[in-house]
Amino acid sequence: MAYLTIMKKSHVLITSILLLAILIGGGIPVAAQQKFTGLMLRTPAAYNGFTFEFFMQRGETRCDSFIAQHDFQETDKSFRYYLMASDFEIDPTSLQPVFPTGKLILDHEYSLASWLSLDRDMVDLPHWGFEQPIAFCVTVPQDAQPGTHYAAILLSTITKTEYLSGISQLDEGGAVLGSRSGVNVLVTVGGDVRKDVEVASMQVTDIDYKGAFLNIFEYQPLNIVIDLVNDGNQFAKPAGNISIHTGDLTNSEFFVPFNPGGSRVLPQTKSTFVTNWNDGPLYIVKDENKSVDSSGNEITNYSYRLAVDLAKIGDFRFGRYFVTLQMLYYDSNGQLQRVPDYTVQFWIIPWKLILVILLVVITMYTLWRRNKKDNVKYISKKSAAWKASQRKQE
């Protein structure tokens, strides 16, 4: 009987532990090594990233969808997101997207948000792994301007009203943080559409995107920073090649595709494309150093050091180089257009290192010369003394 009681107690204990473990662990089975990324948006693999691209005519309606998925570490916690379609514009100087504040619709010829309709105002994601398709439609008005129009569909932790009017005074002090993330929609309305892509500028910069006096750089890595401008009214997706050579374009030191990811240049905007070049034995490494200030805040500083990779000694970079952009794009009629080649000259001369080496060599030579002179003097002196002593003996 006593044995049975012990058994019973053991069962109760084990069951309790199991229940506790399930409660603590949460009800949704998730792999131990699962990465939790938060609100996950997904578009089909066939799409080029997070940009929906439609070619439409006036009066036409097209629909599509993407997926919002719960991928939060808090597996049992329900998250709610509010949907909003928002125009954005490209800052002509910074070339960055700028979302409007206090409004969602912009009054410019590339505006699209007002043409978008969403199948819901909000989406609830009750537990980990739950996914919800977000459907949307675009209806092009009869009076739409030809060309590309663009906007974003955003999922937001704050309501549309809160975004437009702000959050009223709270009982808690501090910063209230709203977060929005979403997909881009580009609609090109048929008619008099055109692309006109040109190279606005091409410059070679150092690791920190800074230029150099007379384009003389000391070490790699170097960045080829190209700004393209699209004076047309339809987006363009440029392609081509970047070659770095010493004057003979057919004999490149470095040859890579330009814009391999297929980024677009929106109409009447500039866009920046960066290509990194770092294949030589001498290169600068930028280290991130984290420290804590007197108030306990994490501070980040950067330091630079010269690294040497002897395995790449055959690719030692020194002297004058040219970087040439050979660019192509399809115009609005589907004809391949080749933009005139654009070439910039630059130098790689580790002049500080050379100066140090020269200084060392000159110093050593000077010391050697002085030492030699001293030796000669010493020997002459000794020789004269010896001769004198010889004479004396004679």
Binding site: G49, T157, Y163, G174, A175, Y209, L266, E298, N301
Partner: protein
């Protein structure tokens, strides 16, 4: 009776002997059966190891190792070229064939001449358009007459171009090699019947969440709510020291062109009628002096390169709005127009807990005796979009 018994015994003995001899004789026949031809393959122009293209001209060579020795006039070697067709308008003849592996390898059409050192060849299905031609070689002595010796590594090739081609039907065809002594078969893949195409797709993924400083949990929500905006609680701003709160911006994406992280605020840290003085970029709030700004440690990305807008870049990588988000000491945080804090030009795949490939934002504030009492708030909205 005695004679009968003797006879009976003799018959019994003979019967047993006959039976034993028969059994051993049978076993001996089994022992003499054909050995297996090994190392069989087909090579040549137009032939691919695992899936040759349908209906293309080929010059095949059948390679094999014949373990026994064919060394008697009249012994045969037959090769069935299944999966091969005679091209339209062509005829497969002895002149198109090449044999190696015998002591002498000359071939002639049947019936040929006896003991002339040329083996007689009979080709079945060798006419134009026929499938699966069969080549039968009957060995011949030379003029010696010396018997041929065919053994070890041997080949039979259709050396002439444009005479034969692959079959028009995709299948795994068996090529048979049969000699008087040995035999073997192997599969020859024509078309893609033996191929398995493995496909998989990966969706485009973009994730964004605001996490706590250690990236171990989601940042707390306003009012302890389960949903809605997050809160960075600066606590009570005494004059005794700078108060701070921090959080991480965690973006994960496989977007090859990267993403932008943008922020806009609704004004300063304020209550009705009073705004805490903004501490200028490049300075940190100091103890006992009213001030407020943030510190951004924008971190890295696992694949893409992160660029923090510092205003120093005249190119389009960064903002010219005067906000230096890369300042290591502090950045004024009162931009009521959206501003890109940082951008990444490629994918980012942070770990489940990752303080390297996430951005740390620290808000810092201090009051002084002149600061109005009350609850101070600021509303910041972060927007993340992939580059188009």
């Amino acid at each position: 009776m005695k004679t009968y018994t003797k006879l009976h015994k003799t018959v019994a003995l003979l019967t047993v002997f006959a039976l034993v001899s028969g059994v051993f004789g049978f076993l001996n026949v089994q022992k003499a059966s054909a050995a297996a031809i090994t190392s069989m393959s087909i090579t040549g122009t137009g032939i691919t190891a695992n899936s040759s293209t349908l209906n293309t001209a080929i010059t095949p060579t059948v390679n094999f190792t014949h373990p026994s020795t064919l060394n008697t006039d009249g012994q045969t070697l037959q090769i069935s070229l299944n999966g091969i067709s005679v091209a339209s308008g062509q005829t497969l003849t002895v002149a198109d064939l090449t044999l190696t592996g015998c002591s002498f390898n000359t071939l002639e059409a049947t019936p040929g001449t006896d003991n002339n050192g040329a083996h007689e060849v009979t080709i079945t299905n060798g006419a134009s358009g026929n499938d699966n031609p069969v080549v039968l070689i009957t060995l011949d002595d030379d003029t010696g007459p010396t018997a041929p010796s065919c053994t070890g590594a041997m080949t039979l090739a259709v050396a002439a171009a444009q005479v034969v081609s692959h079959d028009t039907t995709a299948a795994n065809y068996a090529i048979h090699i049969q000699s008087t002594l040995d035999s073997g078969s192997f599969f020859y893949y024509v078309g893609d019947e033996n191929d398995v195409q493995i496909t998989a797709t990966v969706d485009n993924v973009l994730s964004f969440t605001i996490r706590n400083t250690a990236d171990t949990a989601d940042q707390a929500n306003v009012g302890g709510s389960a949903v809605g905006p997050n809160l960075c609680d600066l606590g009570n701003l005494s004059t005794a020291g700078v108060q701070s709160c921090s959080y991480r911006l965690k973006v994960a994406t496989n977007a090859v062109n990267g993403y932008y992280v943008q922020v806009v605020v609704d004004g300063g840290l304020r209550k009705t009628g009073y705004t805490i003085t903004n501490t200028a970029t490049g300075s940190a709030p100091t103890s006992g002096v009213e001030g407020y700004n943030i510190l951004l440690a924008a971190g890295s990305a696992t694949v893409g390169t992160r660029t923090t807008c510092d205003g120093a870049i005249t190119s389009g990588n960064c903002l010219a709005d005067g906000i230096d988000w890369s300042n290591g000491t502090g950045t004024i945080f009162n931009n009521t127009s959206a501003s890109t804090m940082y951008s990444v030009n490629g994918p980012n795949n942070p770990a489940s807990t990752d303080t390297t490939n996430t951005a740390l934002v620290t808000h810092r504030a201090e009051s002084d005796p002149g600061t109005a009492a009350g609850i101070f708030n600021q509303f910041a909205t972060y927007t993340v979009v992939a580059r188009w």
